[in-house]
């Protein structure tokens, strides 16, 4: 059983639960950027929560079923059409042999997850089928005429679904813990004062931020000294000399040489992964 990619859209990647346990090899985790939405798509179909699914950025993906399949789309609500007829978001839907599923650009959120019952059977690299856009490990981004083999995993839909990632609020607030390097800033609380805006240069490595309001306080560094590179956690907010922070997502480097002012709570990472270019957000200290 296979699924054929007719059009990949702006960016369609194979993602699973990530590449774990390879920090000593200098290899990051990658994996779905919005972990809850990825796990939810799989859970709706009875797949293992870490099964391989397609991470679709800003819609645009068109696939054709080469057999009768059951699929689910979660995360950013990209309007789905099966042979031109609207199909439901966030639930299991039937895709008959020969039918085409098209995802249009979502009005809110950034990343949608298309899972197939049984999962996708993709060769593993270091234990994972994830594409790591930073190191280049894992499969290439999906392209036209890419044929994906359907796996045989999974059984009954999960009794408890991972909750859906909150989307579409006009202004997202992400909770942070200050540190490890808040003392490198003249006023680290500038991070939690005023609004930030998602820059178009954002990607799976990180969300790049700038200030939409000219009177916002600067997140300026106390000195010009450089720290030796140090380990970086998912959700770390690193501040280069420009003062424009980067909030690190799934493909973040293992180490970085700029100070990290604060780290987004693990629970709020999925929301961060759904931020669209131009969207406003705030940080709140907990």
């Amino acid at each position: 059983m296979t699924l054929t990619v007719l059009r990949p859209g702006p960016l369609a990647l194979l993602q699973d639960g990530g590449r774990h346990g390879h920090a000593a090899d200098g290899v990051g985790r990658a994996g779905a950027a919005d972990r809850a939405s990825h796990a939810r798509a799989n859970a709706l179909l009875g797949n293992d929560p870490g099964a391989v699914a397609i991470e679709v950025t800003l819609g645009g993906l068109v696939v054709r079923a080469d057999a009768d399949l059951t699929v689910a789309v979660t995360g950013a609500p990209a309007p789905a059409e099966i042979d031109g007829d609207p199909a439901a978001h966030d639930t299991a839907i039937a895709l008959r042999r020969g039918q085409t599923l098209r995802l249009r650009a979502p009005k809110v959120g950034l990343r949608s997850y298309l899972a197939v019952a049984g999962g996708l059977d993709v060769p593993l690299v270091l234990g994972s089928a994830s594409t790591d856009t930073l190191s280049g490990l894992g499969p290439a981004p999906l392209g036209k005429d890419h044929v994906l083999t359907i796996g045989t995993g999974g059984s009954a839909p999960a009794a408890r679904l991972p909750s859906a990632t909150a989307l579409g609020e006009p202004e997202t607030t992400l909770r942070v813990l200050f540190g490890p390097r808040q003392d490198w800033f003249t006023d680290p609380t500038a991070l939690t004062a005023g609004r930030w805006r998602v820059s178009p240069q954002s990607n799976r490595v990180g969300v790049r931020l700038d200030r939409p309001d000219p009177d916002s306080p600067d997140l300026s560094r106390a000195g010009d000294a450089e720290i030796p590179s140090e380990g970086i956690v998912l959700g770390a907010i690193q501040v280069p000399p420009s003062g424009q922070p980067v909030l690190f997502l799934a493909d973040h480097p293992l180490t970085g040489g700029y100070p990290v002012v604060a780290v987004v709570l693990d629970e709020d990472i999925d929301q961060a992964a759904q931020l669209r270019p131009g969207q406003h957000l705030r940080f709140a200290s907990v």
């Binding site: 390879h22 000593a24 490890p180 140090e230 959700g235 780290v263």
Partner: protein, 219 residues
């Protein structure tokens, strides 16, 4: 060596300050040996070890344990670190090098040594991997002859071939895959240091000892 300190790193991590790469190696070895189930990953670096933990870990408890374990490792010191193999892929790795790097004469000029003396210094001491970073399998080797400390190149190269043997700061390294890079290239090796089909894929893991050998001396 100073006393290790702890800094917060979100709700899934703690950053342990070791102060220098030598202490990092000792602290990392002690933490690995303890094999705590809630620790998912250790990410050693020049002056820190980042500890990534499982969801729901009590960071206060773990932090106290980290400080105690790290302080004990510092007290014992790295003098007790031995170079006997502890398992497959952990013994001293011999790396035959052809010292034909494009920056060898620049390194000689910067250090005040002759190219032959640079080679003798590079092969004269064992090196140890303190941490990995920059790229998959790229290990920062420490413990070399202090005369070899050189700055990075003023202009980094857009492409450095796999197997390039390099110096920068107090470190030596071998580029495991082709990549951009700004280190001073002094030689080339045929040894494969990155094989994604192998387990582990990186031949040089943190803590591993490495010795460079001049290929000309072997023939």
């Amino acid at each position: 060596m100073s006393r290790p300190r702890l800094r917060p790193a979100g709700d899934r991590g703690l950053l342990l300050e070791t102060g220098d790469p030598q202490t990092t190696v000792g602290v990392c070895a002690a933490l690995r040996q303890a094999d705590r189930p809630e620790i998912e990953d250790l990410i050693p670096a020049a002056a820190t070890v980042l500890v990534r933990v499982a969801r729901g870990t009590d960071l206060t408890d773990l932090g106290n344990w980290l400080l105690a374990t790290a302080a004990a490792a510092v007290t014992v010191g790295s003098t007790t670190a031995d170079r006997t193999p502890a398992g497959p892929g952990t013994g001293e790795l011999l790396i035959p090098v052809r010292y034909d790097g494009p920056d060898l004469t620049d390194v000689a000029a910067a250090t005040g040594l002759s190219p032959a003396q640079v080679i003798a210094a590079h092969t004269g001491t064992p090196w140890q991997a303190a941490f990995v970073g920059f790229a998959p399998g790229f290990a920062y080797l420490i413990g070399g002859d202090p005369r070899l400390a050189v700055p990075r190149r003023a202009q980094s190269r857009t492409e450095v071939p796999a197997g390039s043997v390099a110096l920068a700061g107090e470190y030596s390294a071998v580029y495991p895959r082709r990549s951009p890079g700004g280190w001073q290239l002094i030689g080339t090796t045929e040894v494969t240091l990155w094989d994604q089909a192998a387990d582990p894929p990186a031949a040089i893991q943190p803590g591993r000892w490495v010795r460079f050998v001049n290929e000309e001396d072997r023939s």
